[in-house]
Point group: C2
Amino acid sequence: MAGRAPAAIVFDTFGSVVDWRGSLIGELTAFGQARGIAADWTGLVDAWRAAYHPSMQQVRSGALPWTRLDDLHRASLDRLVAEFAVAGLTEADLRHINRGWHRLNPWPDAVPGLTRLKAKFIIGPLSNGNVSLLANMAKHAGLPWDMVFGSDLFGHYKPDPETYLGVARLLDLEPGQVMMAAAHNGDLAAARACGLMTAFFPRPDEYGPHQARDFKADQAWDVVAADIEDMAAQLGA
Amino acid sequence: MAGRAPAAIVFDTFGSVVDWRGSLIGELTAFGQARGIAADWTGLVDAWRAAYHPSMQQVRSGALPWTRLDDLHRASLDRLVAEFAVAGLTEADLRHINRGWHRLNPWPDAVPGLTRLKAKFIIGPLSNGNVSLLANMAKHAGLPWDMVFGSDLFGHYKPDPETYLGVARLLDLEPGQVMMAAAHNGDLAAARACGLMTAFFPRPDEYGPHQARDFKADQAWDVVAADIEDMAAQLGA
């Protein structure tokens, strides 16, 4: 930490704070059983997440105008429901399934760790999710954010610099007074390139058996922790 | 209420949730005593607030480009320090005094009432303050917001419709699913014109002996309450 302390800490959310894969597989499996709709729900969830970066890249490249993540998720879902031959879903079902991203569950250390950090720092998500998704998720999961930094505030997706620098601008802080916390080395590298402080903690089960990266810190981040509670301890919170 | 209930409630902040006049007079009087700087601090605070609407009107009219409230406050303060002949203030003092708007204290019912409402609704300030001012104020006063809607998110000051409709857009709600709560009838009239629900509670001491309006509800607002705790009770929270 070299004696510096941040004034605010922003968190990557999908995978870093909440368990998108376990949450969605659990919810969709229960939904399929309750409705008698058989499908490879696990495969569909993994394919849905695999569509995440390519769909945002269409916005980043300019092929699509600014589009909220909810709407990117829905376009991917419509395609995957056909590819996975899931039959019998109504429009209301599709809306409900798409809103599953608003109902993700936190990793066990997230709420206690964030609660400790909130006592000392301004905390918020800095996520590619839209504000409504993140606000609903916080209500569902009990995430004690001070402020929600959704990508729609900036009209940009991470790792575009407008997101990291936008947090500093809105909080009237220098980039070096803001810490980006994530389980993804790539997110932290982009934040560091903008001058932010960085904190890493691994989520080795984020992608289940398909996890291929981010088992450990790739760089000497300002904080390297076991999880968010350990991060709070290292920051004296 | 006619059977409707909001999904989110946003609050006017200065005067409605926090006591700007009592807070600033108390802080500046103590500051003057500690520093041995004699001045009509009460008069300065009243004049500072009197400059609030005219300064925003310069932005609304286009005479000034978008300017954050912190910067409008500072320009007014610089003028008033000269008018009130306050001597001996350093640049650091002026910055500290200007940040007094980040350190306002809540009315006694605000934190308990908001805490109850937060359990049932998404809550946030919808204020002419900038995000950093409101986030720092929430930390200082213990205001349990889910999301901070500062005017800098919209590049507009209330009562411009972009502010009320901007909340609905960011929360992915219809305007009629959002309730504006304030101690100011004018704010509610503008919100209602945009289709929002409305809640009024009076703050008859906001302007101290200079209070001239807003002693009671001017229209049949959806909720008319004694204070924020009574509002929570009326909304079943």
